[in-house]
């Protein structure tokens, strides 16, 4: 089990403007490289971060038009895992009511989007979503 001490922490506030998710992915890359995560796993973290940001940009309707992110390297003495928190102050949603997308249905459907959470869950080790009327927080982790 990964140690819980925070060895390094970076916070980032993103404006909801096109392609700002790339800035977040660069911060994630820097943190993952610091903890010597493998390149393939770093790529997976980058992609999950991009998806989490896009979800917030597209669906949160946050009044402040911002996404608040925290990147934490956790471990005892050595880095063991990277925990990324993505928070918005938007309208929230009920995660249990989100239907899992599947390709057969999407090929027939007019709307082919809605893959973000499935991709995040597929690429990260642990994903926790807390959502309510004051916003949504996604906490996702990946071990080194």
């Amino acid at each position: 089990m990964a140690g819980n001490a925070i060895l390094r922490e970076v916070t980032l506030t993103l404006s909801m403007v096109p392609d700002m998710e790339i800035a977040a992915s660069k911060t994630a890359t820097a943190m993952a490289e610091f903890m010597k995560m493998s390149p393939d796993r770093i790529d997976e973290v980058r992609m999950a971060v991009v998806e989490a940001c896009i979800n917030a940009f597209e669906h949160s309707h946050s009044p402040d038009h911002k996404v608040y992110m925290t990147f934490e390297v956790l471990g005892d003495k050595e880095p063991e895992s990277l925990r990324i928190t993505v928070r918005d102050t938007g309208v929230g949603f009920l995660p249990a009511e989100i239907e899992e997308p599947n390709i057969e249905a999407k090929l027939k459907a007019e709307r082919k989007r809605g893959w973000g959470l499935k991709i995040i869950r597929g690429l990260m080790d642990d994903v926790e979503i807390r959502s309510g009327s004051d916003g949504t927080t996604v906490v996702m982790s990946k071990s080194r």
Binding site: D43, M47, K106, K112, R113, I119, L123
Partner: protein, 116 residues
């Protein structure tokens, strides 16, 4: 700050290879779709997307690729992908794209596989 995608095409006998370079986001996906639909209008029914120059995609961009897959199914054509990063390939498997579009490790095997 807008990430751009460059799309180029190599038309070959009965097959067209579409090369991408950059981020496949909403705009990038639309750029690929525009090129793909033009190729279909020209009569190409076999398309290969070579993503060697793309290191990051997002689900909005991939959703537009699903529209292209839907179109290829309609016309009984073939769409293949090659030179994907391991993460993009994993993402395509998570989404199920690999059931409807063939994925090849390199362009040579892709061209041979799609022509077979």
């Amino acid at each position: 700050m807008t990430e751009s995608l460059n799309v180029t095409v190599d038309r070959r006998d009965g097959l067209a290879v579409v090369y991408t370079e950059g981020y496949i986001n909403n705009q990038g996906g639309e750029d690929i779709a525009r090129v793909a639909y033009k190729l279909l209008d020209e009569g190409y029914k076999v398309l290969l997307l070579n993503l060697a120059g793309t290191k990051i995609v997002n689900s909005i961009g991939i959703s537009i690729l699903i529209e292209i897959i839907e179109k290829m199914i309609e016309i009984e054509g073939q769409l293949g992908f090659c030179c994907l990063t391991p993460t993009i390939e994993k993402t395509f498997h998570i989404m199920g794209l690999a059931q409807y579009a063939r994925i090849f490790p390199d362009e040579q095997s892709a061209v041979a596989g799609l022509r077979a």
